[in-house]
Amino acid sequence: MRKLLNTLYVTTPHAYLSRDGENLVATVDDQERFRVPIHNLEGIVCFNYAGTSPSLMSLCCERGVSLCYLSESGRFLARVSGRVSGNVLLRRKQYRLADADAETAGLAKAFVSGKVLNCRSVLMRFARDHDEKEGSQEVAEAAERLLVYFRALDRSLSADAIRGIEGDAARAYYEVFRHLITEQKESFAFRGRSRRPPLDPMNALLSFLYTLLMMDCASALETVGLDPQVGFLHRDRPGRLSLALDLMEELRPYLVDRLALTLVNNKQVSPNGFVKKESGGVLMDADTRKLVLTEWQKRKQEEITHPFLEEKISIGLIPYVQSLLLARHLRGDLDGYPPFLVR
């Protein structure tokens, strides 16, 4: 399996990125601060407003290095994508299936199955480790309910019915999510998911990490030649990365939720690192953001055995491997899409 390379996160606001031959160069106030050969990078995520040179953009596209821009608060702004991969048969198949009800329902079912089972794993883990803590009974019950939803998926034939179950399962999961926060409970109190804007520090943390995961999923899909904008569970909407959102569903609990909980429960992030704006929205400060990015990168370097391929891979390659399995399913090598399941 391929090796995971590094992702560069540019957090210095007025840093400017340019190209020098085969290298990326970061300058701040006309002083060179950093330089790295492009072949060492998997992706570049820019929080800086000064931007990047067109020549660097073209180098990234040529070398398959993903390049995206987020606002300072981690809101998605733009992605630079290069030439579309030449796998036209794969893309046509993707579009054909996205237009066919039964196929759309089948894939939506696979994505939601993965999500429900992985949410359940997060809850089960807590119930196992903390059976004396308050709320563990409630968490165990929610885990049971998720299993009921998972079984109901099997009997659902329409994509809309599956979307309905996905909504119910997400509610059941987020209802007990507050119990999983065992330290700094007051400051990180969680009363359900809020996104636009995130209304509390936990939601701000989750939203930020979900954006990073979405970027990784979109790049991975493009790498294998799929169109990240045409999804199955998520309907097309201009500009929406629907297939990246589809792929993300099964990965949210394992890659993001668990990391966010660890950061809070180990007191690596503190409530002082979050700012409440006048509008009620909550933002992370620069230091917290840097810490979260560092921990996200560390998490990606960890190795696991992929449950379907039974090969050792870095956690950061999961979106790539899942994209590949989806592509191989669409090209007829596999009888279904095997979602990533946490053992």
């Binding site: 399996m1 391929r2 991969s85 030449g86 796998n87 036209v88 048969l89 794969l90 039964a102 196929e103 329902a105 089948g106 894939l107 079912k109 696979a110 199955s113 089972l117 998972f150 079984r151 998926l153 099997d154 294998v224 030649g225 449950p307 379907f308 391929l309 039974e310 090969e311 590949l324 399995l325 191989r328 399913h329 090209r331 007829g332 090598d333 596999l334 009888d335 279904g336 899409y337 095997p338 979602p339 399941l341």
Partner: protein
């Protein structure tokens, strides 16, 4: 006979000889990994370290990057090196040169001689293109291996020609159908630059249905 726009890259011959699925992934699905091996191969082609410097004055003419096509096989490509060797008969006239010259394709490979015939079929395909283009017979070509620094003669015999004809036919059959054959895991997969895209292991994996514990996934597709 194939039309010009129906011709496929000659390099596909060595891919399909090695593995039909590898051919399909590269030529039908455009999944080409710029891995160290292919990159290295390219730089070797560009190298100034020239193993063909033994030119006997006046009797061997070396030409490089020679465009090739065969409408019979339906392939086109470029030969690294074609030597033209002075001969008394069975050759072609070359502009501005005296006498007759027999074409002799030489394919340049990094690495070592292979267990299979994937390099030989490529030389043979080049020879068959030269025959068709120049109207002469080509009985011999050569492979040069970077690792061993040795030339290896390739006899263009009936058996090898039949194999090239078969492989070229298979290339067109797969390409026209847009078919990628399923993987068959063998020892050769270890050395394949496309293994990480092909996932040869999925052939032997349990189907995705059993994997979810219940049959949540759709019926197999045609």
């Amino acid at each position: 006979m194939y039309l010009e726009e129906e011709c496929l890259p000659l390099s596909g011959i060595q891919h399909i000889a090695f593995c039909p699925r590898q051919f399909a992934l590269i030529h039908i699905e455009c999944q080409w990994l710029e891995n160290a091996l292919t990159f290295d191969g390219r730089t070797m082609h560009d190298s100034t370290d020239d193993p063909f410097s033994y030119e006997a004055r006046g009797t061997v003419l070396i030409t490089r990057a020679v465009p090739l096509v065969s409408t019979k096989l339906g392939i086109y490509g470029v030969a690294d090196v074609v030597e033209f060797r002075k001969c008394d008969f069975g050759g072609v006239s070359l502009e501005g040169r005296e006498g007759l010259w027999r074409p002799y394709p030489v394919e340049y490979k990094r690495g070592r001689p292979k267990q299979d015939d994937r390099d030989a079929v490529q030389v043979c395909a080049q020879a068959m293109c030269l025959e068709e283009m120049l109207g002469v017979r080509v009985d011999e070509g050569a492979l040069f291996y970077g690792k061993t620094r040795r030339r290896q003669v390739v006899k263009i015999g009936a058996e090898l020609r039949a194999r090239v004809e078969y492989l070229a036919g298979e290339m067109h059959r797969l390409y026209d159908g847009g078919v990628t054959p399923p993987p068959h895991k063998t020892a050769a997969c270890e050395s394949c630059s496309l293994a990480e895209v092909c996932l040869p292991g999925i052939a032997s994996r349990r189907s995705s249905k059993g994997y979810l514990g219940v049959s949540t996934l759709e019926e197999p597709r045609k």
